[in-house]
């Protein structure tokens, strides 16, 4: 076992699970999507991206690309959250929430691809 590989896999899977946890729920209900979960998903995705830097293999390049896609989607969602005007009760509007969650769902798909690559790669190495 290699600590570096554990950390690598940990961050990739953690990025996917946090992203999933944020996305799940009714798409337009702000109560189902917590801002701190979004923040955690964002930070973990950034860390996972940095961990993937510098691998020159084809698999490494795909890995990095999926993470870049996820971070880009989450950045768009974060901008939307920051710029959208809050409602009269201080809660975020349903339309905005839908946009944020759907962007995050796109990031989730990229994260799932990343996890699949990780699993396939691991399986192939054992053979």
């Amino acid at each position: 076992m290699n600590l570096e590989k554990v950390i690598f896999a940990f961050f990739i899977i953690f990025a996917a699970t946090l992203n999933f946890g944020f996305v799940i729920g009714e798409i337009d209900n702000p109560l189902h999507h917590h801002v701190w979960e979004f923040f955690a998903a964002f930070v973990v995705n950034v860390v996972a991206t940095v961990l993937k830097f510098g691998d020159r293999t084809q698999v490494g390049a795909t890995h990095l690309a999926t993470s870049l896609v996820a971070v880009l989607q989450l950045t768009a969602a974060a901008l939307l959250w920051t710029l959208a005007p809050a409602g009269p009760d201080g809660m975020i509007g349903a339309a905005t929430m839908t946009g944020i969650v759907s962007l995050s769902a796109g990031a989730l798909l990229a994260n799932i691809v990343s996890v699949v690559i990780l699993i396939v790669e691991t399986t192939l190495q054992r053979r």
Binding site: F39, V43, V50, G54
Partner: protein, 443 residues
């Protein structure tokens, strides 16, 4: 993305992750710790406010406490994150500096730049492997003719000397081993613009390896190889090198041509000279008894050429050449006794051909003291000793020659590509590659 950028990112992973974590922890703390405004109400930063504050604080810009003045709890937290982020930046900068000085990283950068330069070449170019004295001379000649070239040499010093050559072009150059096919490909061997490969290293095996690589990787490109021994020459020809030049053998051949038929020698010199050289009046080496000092690679080839023309020759060598039917005098040739024994007083010419410049000069001077009219051929091994040879020749000429015989020296070097006549250039691609000069006296 270029290789260098990827390598840089890989090395900087740890500091980047540290900074990301410091930022995240700072943002979480700032957004969670409640603040108190002037009226005593509790307020909290949004995540974006916290990111904004972290960004200008961590980068030491410091816009102050916004949107409202902080309370003590917030200031305690900010104090902590300021130190943490400064440490994070310092770690990143230290890593960057280490990376910039890292030898392997710089090699990656240089190779990347070299590849880009070669790729940007849109004109035909020649690939020179080995940029020693011969390579530099060829490079200068190509430059004079307006032809582009690319250089590979295993020594960094030689690549740096390329800048000092004062060329009209910016020739791409790389420190690399020409034996490695990867280097040759990086230098553009497989590109359609590559018109020829000149492998001029002082290592026969390396030249052979280049010749083989070229034959296999780009068979259409002609190869000109330098070989110091007969075995290497045969080997290279069997592997399909288009031209193999043994500089020592060429010199011996030319010397005998100059002795037997000076007119032909003069014609060859004219047709294959370096660009910009003027044909100077040169005395023909006389027929008669010749002495060859030093029976190494050079001496052996000269003697072989002499014998091929049935010229009378005596060898002076400290070792045991073990030759059939040749007069051999043991010794260095720098002392009068040895030279006398070899018959210097009746000799027509002497070839000072050891691999040491000082010895060669000493032989020439001693021989001339014993026989004022002797024709001397002095081998110059190092270009750096140029001044010594010029001085020696000048003194000799001043003493015994008239003006018409001035400038009798001829340097023999790789200057074949410099010829204006395409056919002669092709067939004579390596007429000359020996750092030697003829110094003669017509009297």
């Amino acid at each position: 993305m270029s290789n260098a950028f990827l390598v840089a990112l890989r090395r900087l992973r740890a500091p980047i992750i540290l900074l990301v974590l410091v930022f995240s922890i700072g943002i979480v703390g700032l957004a969670l710790i409640p603040g108190t405004d002037a009226a005593g109400h509790t307020w909290r930063m949004t995540i974006f406010d916290a990111l904004y504050f972290m960004s200008y604080t961590a980068s030491t810009i410091g816009f102050g406490e916004i949107p409202q003045a902080f309370n003590t709890a917030q200031r305690v937290w900010v104090t902590l994150i300021i130190y943490a982020s400064v440490i994070g930046w310092a770690y990143l900068v230290a890593n960057l500096l280490t990376l910039a000085q890292d030898r392997s990283f710089r090699t990656v950068l240089e190779v990347g730049r070299f590849r880009r330069q070669v790729r940007a070449l849109r004109e035909p170019f020649y690939l020179i492997c080995g940029f020693g004295e011969t390579g530099a001379l060829v490079g200068r000649a190509l430059d004079t003719l307006g032809l582009r070239f690319v250089v590979i040499d295993i020594l960094e010093d030689r690549i740096q000397e390329l800048d000092l050559l004062d060329l009209a072009q910016d020739a791409p150059a790389m420190v690399g081993n020409a034996r490695v096919p990867e280097s040759l490909i990086a230098a553009g061997l497989t590109r359609p613009e590559c018109r020829g490969v000149l492998t001029l290293t002082n290592d026969d095996q390396a030249n052979l390896a280049v010749a083989i690589s070229v034959r296999l990787l780009n068979p259409a490109v002609p190869v000109l190889a330098r070989a110091m021994s007969r075995e290497a020459t045969a080997n290279m020809i069997s592997f399909g090198a288009d031209h193999v030049v043994n500089p020592f053998a060429k010199f011996g051949e030319y010397l005998t041509v100059a002795i037997q038929s000076p007119g032909i020698h003069r014609l060859i010199t004219w047709l294959t000279g370096l660009p910009g050289t003027t044909l100077k009046p040169a005395p023909a080496p006389p027929r008669g008894h010749w002495i060859v000092c030093g029976y190494g690679r050079f001496g052996a080839e000269v003697v072989r050429a002499f014998r091929g023309q049935d010229l009378d020759v005596t060898i002076i060598d400290p070792g045991e050449p073990g030759l059939d039917g040749l007069r051999v005098v043991r010794g260095l040739g720098t002392d009068a006794a040895t030279l006398d024994q070899a018959g210097v007083r009746n000799a027509a010419g002497i070839v000072a051909g050891t691999d040491d410049d000082v010895t060669n000069l000493s032989i020439a001077v001693t021989a001339r003291e014993l026989n004022d009219g002797i024709f001397t051929v002095v081998r110059q091994n190092l270009r750096a000793n140029h001044a010594l040879f010029d001085e020696e020749r000048g003194r000799h000429l001043g003493r015994s020659c008239d003006g018409s015989a001035a400038g009798v020296s001829r340097r023999r070097r790789a200057g074949h590509l410099a010829s204006r006549d395409e056919r002669v250039r092709r067939s004579g691609l390596s007429r000359r590659a020996v750092p030697c000069r003829l110094s003669g006296d017509p009297s």
